[in-house]
Amino acid sequence: MIEASGTVQLVGPPVIEARGLVKRFGSFTAVDGIDVRVEPGEAFGFLGPNGAGKSSTMRMIGAVSPPTVGHLRVLGSDPATHGPAIRARIGVVPQEDMLDTELSVTDNLLIYGRYFGLPVRELRPRIAGLLDFMQLADRARDRVEPLSGGMKRRLVIARALLNAPDLLLLDEPTTGLDPQARHLVWDRLYQLKQRGVTIVLTTHYMDEAEQLCDRLVVMDGGRIVAEGAPRDLVAAHATREVLELRFAPGEQGDAVGLLDGVAERVEQLPDRVLLYTTDADRTVAAVTERGVRPDQTMVRRSSLEDVFLRLTGRSLVE
């Protein structure tokens, strides 16, 4: 499966196929008719703010929450009728850690592995290997409770890998982690992807989606508002560069009036103004020419954050 170039080529039926998927809780519609198709070996992301329907979608894919309406196949089977068989082949990193904090790191993994019916003699070396992989080997015998958030998160990822899953589902894998811990998680997920594991994750971090995902959908209010590779989405929905202007308190409102037409698009946020442009240097000059004097000026590449702002009119992390 792994070719000389190091890239992974897998062919086969889609790992996830959803059409018109709906999830309602009473009168509230969490997921409002989405179509998703994830191919083997892909790293696929659900990007969106809290309440967009990402977690509900993940729980349906994880065969723990039945869809209200719609067609759903996971690893070729219907979660409604083949839940246990599907769950045997997927690894789940839920949004909350759900660890038994009174038990040791190893016992958490051993007990979880037994739920899959894996024999203890097989689990012991597998646990040792996964703790090594997630850099937790020196904490194997320690209780979980005092571990840092990053360590707990890595333990949850190790737990999700116990059954050597074909599909790994991660619901906000790095929320609340410090940058170092996030990069370690990203690196491990990247290694798993290289080994051919299909990865599906949710995130509200732009950089996470851009780093990890081959393809993603942007969700808002239970619907998919855009779909594509991160780079393509940025190209389609944002300009190459963004000029960010910050003003002294009270001056932003007046300044915005002067900026009309200075860039392809002007977006006003509570604390700054974004100018979407193909040539930031020229735009800076144009802004100065109009007599606008911002406190701070910053030029950056546009990102998925800008895509989201464009598509929904709202900032992603509010």
């Binding site: 723990v64 839920p94 016992d107 051993l110 739920y115």
Partner: protein
């Protein structure tokens, strides 16, 4: 629902509990043994001077199997309340478990099997205490163990359902304060329910604990129970069965949303 995943849930509880079973069992039997000493030996000598008809024996012998059944109720409620809330709400380990091939039915069955084992250990420890106090012989104490476990399960199964459905944790405190404690005191463990006012007596005899006390006492002392033993067993078994079915429904409803 197949047996194997339920047994894995049972095994998981056993692995998690392994370091604690000595202290937990000691904690479970310490208070009933103190009751047995204070009321059976202390108060009992006064009672035995009177003319009470207590299954033809001493008050100590009368009290011991009653306490055994009542303790089984407390243990059954205890093991199916806080630990279930822990799994559902605080640590959410139940939700992690349900991401594996384990189904909600497996989870209920495995959890209740585990409670049955806990009850068995507590009942055996308490039965040994009964013998040590001279309340019954070894054979009588041994015969009392199974009825006590059945009594505990009659509470554990519906309690598991209630624990997963309740909106607030404090409901457990209310259940213990206004349910378990009055039952403990007034369901025939300490004195015959015929001593109660007529309406309270009628209430007492529909509680599973009264049936459990009757059954356990008759087994321990080899005296006939108030009703035929088969009726006591059937009544308690019905609580276990219906409780288990409601728990399966409740777990599926709450944890597979």
């Amino acid at each position: 629902m197949t047996a194997a995943p339920a047994l894995r849930v049972f095994e998981a509880r056993a692995r998690a509990f392994a370091p604690h079973w000595r202290t937990a069992t000691a904690a479970a039997v310490l208070i009933p043994l103190a009751f047995l000493a204070a009321m059976g030996l202390g108060l009992g000598t006064l009672v035995d001077r009177g003319d009470a008809d207590l299954a033809g024996g001493s008050y100590l012998a009368y009290l011991a199997p009653g306490l055994l059944a009542a303790t089984a109720m407390q243990t059954g409620v205890g093991e199916s309340s806080w630990p279930v809330r822990l799994g559902v709400k605080w640590q959410k380990t139940y939700l992690a478990t349900l991401a594996t091939p384990v189904s909600t039915g497996d989870l209920v069955l495995g959890q209740l099997l585990w409670v049955a084992l806990r009850l068995l250990v507590v009942a055996l420890a308490l039965a040994a205490g009964m013998v040590a106090f001279g309340a019954t012989g070894v054979a009588g104490a041994a015969r009392a163990v199974a009825p006590a476990v059945l009594t505990g399960m009659a509470f554990a199964a519906p309690m598991a359902a209630w624990a997963v459905l309740m909106a607030k944790d404090t409901t457990i405190v209310a259940i213990i304060r206004f349910g378990v404690t009055p039952l403990f005191l007034f369901s025939g463990a300490f004195f015959p329910v015929s001593q109660l006012p007529r309406t309270l007596e009628a209430l007492a005899v529909v509680t599973p604990l009264w049936h459990g006390v009757e059954l356990t006492r008759s087994a321990a002392l080899s005296v006939p129970p108030t009703l035929p033993a088969v009726l006591h067993v059937a009544y308690l078994a019905a609580w276990v069965l219906v409780g288990t079915l409601v728990a399966r429904w409740a777990f599926a409803r709450q944890l597979r949303q």
